[in-house]
């Protein structure tokens, strides 16, 4: 997928291969999978990769300086950390004195915390004239600086404009932008070609490929866009001669004067000009399974069609602007960068003088050489260079707060419950489950929770009762070997048949009316017949979203009641049918293997509670094209309820339990597993197969359900503190109604905040973090190093969790640092196109990444991955797992080794583990979580929650005044 080395020699092929790596690799939006947006540069060190990718896409690699400065002012970044990172960046040369006692570190610090380094000359001149500027506080100094800057050598900055294509020159010349017409045309026909079922008619001949289909349109007399006169003749020629896409590319480049060394950068930049659609063609070409409509997809075809339009558009724009259209001539027509106004240099000088406490005379006496040194330093302190250091400081301040808190918690007794737990709950590792787990643990010290990748070790192609086919429910890197179907239980088969018929009829009618309303006669009929009902329904859906949806669902359920179902979990033989199809269900051995591994992964091999609830997660919301982005990444962007149900089904079987016993895992006969789904949007918990619960487990089950009922209300309330339109101190009951309202509201762009708060991943035993309020920020992965002598569990855990966690964290990173390029901007004008993606309003490129509403609270940082394992064990795993090694050594995650016995911490830094000595920390202590998180809507520092821990763990000595809350960065 990513062109790590081994690029083709031919410049055209090279450009295409490189572009394939960088254009968005996001499939149709119905199934959203988080991944590292700049995956193609993951083989480079983080900063290098981020800066390179951002530059090539014209994006921001980090937050703005103004955002970092706001974080500094709010205490989110400590000034001491900022200074530390500056000196780390320069090593010994940081303390070199440049002028009047001003060291290099001082100079950089001044440039970072102040906004003196600006290019807004009129703005600066205005604020000085209006006496609003800081410089006016010391006018004599300002006058001296202005005088010195006017006469001395000037600061010369690199020309950062990226002039790579004809269009860049034309725009720099204020001429017509040829991309406007080309893109409008490409967007329309690409969508028409790719469409997966929105339009009633698709482009004729689309089974023959994109280039041929478009050429055929023109052969049949289509009119070219006004911006591309002559393109119709070119296409006619292509249709007649059957020219291949490669030949078109090879012929068009010289026609535009793009030859020799110019070919690769020109073509590369041209492919990146419309990244969303180019990416969709490339993606569907490589993953035909996602291509529901089924036309052959080819990025090369896409490029060829684009070039045919682009050539004519460029010729027309160049002619209108009176410039040559040959690239080798046009590229020299770029207007020069206007010289920097002296007033801008003076502002820099004033800042340095101010920091160095220099007098006006000192400024006047500043010699040419020293001034040149200062300017050289300024030229090096580019925007990106300063933001990079800020990013490091931003991460350091947070990292140390978390490491200190975890270390302080670890110094306390581990708080393990002695004796048998009353109930155990197994969740996905998702940080959204952290609050729910806390809410359970706080109810009783004998409630235990675990976290594991949300497919629970059972990778399947799953077909639900009403699904039209089986699709994978597992991490994307895994290909399931089994299918599992949901079927009505035998006694319900007959009843189900008529119910299904009614359901199909209803849905068929709805689908028909939907399509008919788009047509002339159908629109006429549906208006007159259905219009009034549609109006009433709209009114009800807006006035009472929750209740009206409930009534609708209940009406549908009473007309076509869903039957009781079971999963086809088991097959009786180990043999394959031999017909090449995947076996349906797991054999005894396969079941035992999976259950055995899954239990070992989380360290649950003894001390089983009478009731164990396994909860996958998913998210329901309306009017939200990004609905799937809230589902479970470990289930391939789908909901993990089926996997949890299947896992419970397997482990409840007597034969599986016998086989487990032979392998040393003794599950008591009175232990029962229940699977289910936690909806992270409406905080609903839906448990499966309740009719199979045996009588002996009934009482324990009732208790677990009651605990979940309480916990989900508290979870809803904790989530609600982030939503400004419900008060902080509302009751848990109202909070639950509120989140249910959100999930059912058509007007809700924020049904939930998704992974917005993720920042940490903790791999280790829960007993060392239990009772620590981590504010829904960590992925919590249960792992017990004491049952993992040869690191096999560690290896498979990190191999699964590392890339998934880093993928989520990096997707959120990029979508928040540049929401317009890496993300897809605000949701409000989004328009679903071709059922494959979204665009802005009536016409834009496909928008990929996450919308603003999903990332607005996010603090873009690399994932802080803390693992309960020795550095040796981690290095061993890295040696065997290439992707984990890449993420760690290239610093796309921040890895911390926490020694399983001593708790000693080592931070992986520039190729080695460096010991981290936690600062002594007195954690604030609260009785219950809400006492901590209901004080503020901002991000929180960790606190200890007494009720989750045995009384002896948190003595009175620990309760102190709460620490200051960290502020939101943005």
């Amino acid at each position: 997928m990513a062109p790590h080395g081994g690029l083709p020699v031919d410049p055209i092929d090279r450009a295409i291969a490189r572009a394939r790596g960088l254009i968005p690799d996001q499939g149709p939006i119905g199934v959203f999978i988080h991944h590292n947006t700049l995956h193609t540069y993951q083989h480079l060190p983080f900063h290098e990769g981020v800066q390179k990718g951002a530059e090539e896409l014209g994006a921001k690699p980090y937050l703005y300086l103004s955002q970092f400065r706001a974080a500094l002012a709010a205490g989110r970044i400590l000034d001491s950390d900022l200074r530390l990172e500056i000196s780390r960046a320069f090593g010994d040369s940081a303390n070199e004195v440049l002028w009047h006692g001003l060291t290099r570190a001082d100079l950089w610090h001044a440039l970072m915390v102040s906004d003196s380094f600006t290019d807004d000359a009129p703005g600066l001149a205005y604020s000085i004239a209006a006496a609003e500027a800081e410089e006016c506080k010391n006018l004599p100094l300002w006058k001296a600086c202005l005088a010195r800057a006017t006469t001395g050598p000037a600061l010369v900055l690199d020309d950062t404009r990226r002039i790579l294509r004809h269009r860049d020159v034309l725009v720099a010349l204020n001429a017509m932008d040829p991309d406007v017409g080309v893109h409008a045309e490409m967007i329309r026909i690409s969508a028409g070609y790719t469409d997966q079922g929105q339009a009633l008619a698709v482009i004729p001949g689309r089974d023959k490929g994109f280039l041929t289909a478009v050429a055929q349109l023109y052969a049949n007399g289509a009119a070219p866009p006004r911006e591309c006169p002559g393109a119709d003749a070119d296409f006619k020629h292509v249709a007649k001669a059957g020219t291949s896409a490669e030949d078109i590319i090879r012929a068009t480049l010289p026609a535009l004067g793009v030859t020799g060394d110019a070919v690769e950068p020109w073509l590369y930049a041209t492919i990146l000009a419309l990244p969303g659609w180019a990416g969709m063609f490339s993606r569907l070409e490589r993953f035909p399974g996602e291509n529901v409509g089924g036309p052959p997809m080819s990025l090369v075809d896409f490029i060829a069609v684009r070039l045919l339009f682009e050539r004519r558009a460029i010729e027309r724009a160049c002619k209108a602007a009176g410039v040559p259209s040959a690239w080798d001539q046009l590229r020299n027509r770029v207007p020069p960068v206007p010289a920097r106004a002296p007033v801008l240099d003076a502002a820099l000088l004033w800042r340095f003088a101010h920091e160095a406490k220099a007098a006006p005379e000192d400024v006047a006496a500043l010699d040419q050489k020293t001034l040149a040194v200062l300017w050289r330093e300024c030229a090096a302190a580019t925007d990106v260079a300063r933001r990079k250091i800020f990013q490091e400081a931003y991460e350091r301040t947070y990292r140390e707060i978390i490491l200190d808190a975890v270390a302080a918690r670890r110094q306390l007794p581990d708080g393990r419950q002695h004796g048998r737990p009353r109930a155990q709950f197994i969740f996905c590792i998702d940080e959204r489950e952290e609050s729910l787990r806390r809410a359970l643990e706080e109810q009783h010290q004998a409630y235990e929770t675990f976290g594991t990748a949300g497919f629970f070790g059972v990778a399947i192609d799953y077909q639900g009762l009403y699904d039209r086919g089986a699709v994978p429910y597992c991490p994307v890197v895994v290909t399931p070997a089994h299918e599992v179907h949901e079927r009505p239980i035998d006694s319900a088969v007959e009843r189900d048949r008529s119910s299904k018929a009614r359901r199909d009829f209803g849905l068929g009618l709805e689908g028909w009316a939907r399509r008919a309303s788009q047509t002339l006669s159908g629109g006429f009929g549906t208006s007159l017949l259905l219009g009034p009902f549609a109006g009433l329904k709209t009114i009800a859906r807006i006035l009472a979203p929750r209740v009206s949806l409930l009534i609708g669902t209940q009406m549908a359920a009473s007309l076509a009641p869903p039957p009781t179902t079971r999963l086809s979990a088991i097959r009786t033989t180990d043999e394959d049918a031999g017909d090449g199809r995947k076996p349906v269900g797991f054999s005894l051995k396969e079941s035992t293997d999976r259950v055995f591994n899954a239990l070992h992964n989380i360290g649950l091999v003894k001390n089983f509670a009478p009731i164990i609830v396994v909860l996958g997660h998913g998210s329901t919301s309306l009017n939200n094209p990004h609905e799937s982005a809230h589902d479970c990444g470990a289930c391939g962007g789908r909901r993990g309820g089926a996997n949890a149900r299947l896992f419970a089904d397997l482990v409840n079987r007597a034969d599986v339990r016998d086989a487990l016993r032979q392998r040393g895992v003794e599950i008591p006969a009175d232990t029962w597993f229940v699977g289910g789904l936690h909806d992270t949007a409406d905080d609903g918990v839906r448990l499966s197969d309740l009719h199979t619960i045996p009588d002996f487990a009934r009482a324990a089950f009732e208790e677990a359900v009651a605990a979940l009922e309480t916990a989900r209300r508290h979870d809803a309330r904790e989530r609600c503190r982030r939503y400004e339109n419900i008060s902080l101190d509302d009751t848990p009951e109202n909070a639950l109604l509120h989140v249910e309202g959100r999930a059912s509201h058509l007007a809700q762009p924020r049904p939930e905040y998704g992974h917005c708060t993720n920042s940490i991943a903790i791999v280790g035993r829960r007993q060392f973090t239990r009772g620590l309020h981590l504010d829904r920020r960590p992925f919590l992965i249960s792992y017990d190093p004491t049952i993992d002598p040869n690191d096999a569990i560690l290896e498979r855990t990190l191999a699964a969790v590392g890339p998934v966690g880093a993928g989520i964290s990096l997707e959120y990173y990029f979508s928040s640092v540049d929401n317009e390029v890496f993300g897809c901007g605000t949701k409000l004008p989004h328009n679903v196109t071709g059922l494959v993606g979204i665009m802005n309003g009536h016409m834009s490129d496909l928008r990929t990444g996450l919308p603003l509403q999903m990332v607005e609270l996010h603090e873009p940082m690399r994932l802080l991955l803390m693992v309960d394992a020795t550095p040796e064990a981690l290095l061993g795993v890295a040696g065997r797992q290439a992707e984990v090694a890449e993420l760690v050594t290239k610093e796309w995650v921040q890895l911390v080794s926490v020694h399983p016995e001593t708790g000693e911490m080592l931070v992986f830094d520039r190729g080695q583990f460096v010991p981290y000595k936690p600062r002594p920390t007195l954690l604030p202590v609260v009785e219950k979580s809400p006492d901590w998180h209901l004080r503020s809507r901002a991000h929180l520092t960790p606190a200890l929650v007494r009720s989750a821990l045995p009384p002896e763990v948190v003595g009175p000595g620990h309760s102190g005044e709460p620490a200051k809350l960290t502020a939101n960065a943005a």
Binding site: A191, A223, L528, G535, E627, L746, A747, G841, H842
Partner: protein
Amino acid sequence: MHVALAVAVMTPLVGALLTGLIALFRKTRVPEPLVVRIAGVSTVMSLIASLVVLLRFLGVFGAPVRGEIEYGAWLKIGDFLLPAVFLLDGVSVSISVFAASLTVLIVLFSRTYIHKEPGFTRFFALLGIFATGIQLVALAGTMEILLAGWELLGISSALLIGFFHERPEPVRSSIRAFATYRLSDAGLLIAIVYTFEVLETARFSALAAAASLAPTTTTAIALLFILSAMGKSAQLPFSGWLPRAMEGPTPSSALFYGAVSIHAGLFLLLRVYPILEVSMVARTVGVVIGLSTAVYAALVARVHTDAKGTLAHATLAQVGLILAEICMGWTTFALVHMITHAFLRLGQHLKAPNTIHDIHRLGHSHHHPSWLERRAPGFAAWLYSGAISRFRLDDRVDAAVAPFLALARLLDRIDQGWRNATSLDRDPIEASAIKRLAP
């Protein structure tokens, strides 16, 4: 009655002005709850008042109040008087209640939808302007009052299309819509002046006298009214702005181009129907335009791949049909068609982002080659290419107006050259700041 009517018409605008004033005098962002409260209270008051008007009209309290309601003259120059008159009849009262209720609904919807958006205050202020505009159009007793409402509708519509003004495409679309409105509004203005000229009044109640006018006169006036309706209701050849109007936030697209504003042109024709009725030529023109728009829009809707664009054209197809119905003389049927259609599209527009969710539930529908594609593949391909590019309608319009734009650019260049030559255009602040402090 006077009070209820005034409240129904004016409160949303007062609310919008109030919001604007608060925004002007506060240094910081106006708190969202305050904006919503003002918008909510003013539109709900407008709805209640319009319901009171409806009840009085129906004669629920006392004798039915019908016909013209006078507020005296709002303009007086010498002997020349322009009266402020509102007209209560079945059509105006029902449209008034209908529009007021949909506005309240959209305010409720937008309260959560626009939450935290930088343009929150602006959005609700524009909704207020729209609400008063549509009440003026609905209840106006004279054409000048209707024109005032018509212009409020136009400006709020154009500004909401350009709501996300930090990106170029919404601004381009907004300007296109605005330019189209200006052109067709000129038709309305001339029609009003012309009517005034020949009938000495522009009261709708006086239009019955149109039957006695010369056929050329009525035809000219009727064609001008059709021109103004064509712009507002996006009939050919002005249809290009409608899909572009989908640049705005979803709820305003639903209210304007799904339900209310798009039908305003049709309502105008219902209002001036007495003039239209007597001109066979104008009616024929209207039928031809309406039907060709319907066919055009239906062809485009068939191939469009984006949810909102498809809906916009599906809506337009029905609007074209309704225009034809009115010009055929089936006015009551047209009114029913208009209202049921508005109800249908409001919900569909609001639910446009739900397309993916719906398809997961309803299942993908697979394409099969149509009868036409099998019988005449060449023609089908031509038809497809025409429809997917909207028959290059925008390009043709652009080509038609290109000479005017070229002239405007030339004049601008001359003006700039003159200003540069006389150094009127230099930035005084920058120059003085640097000059004053330079050594």
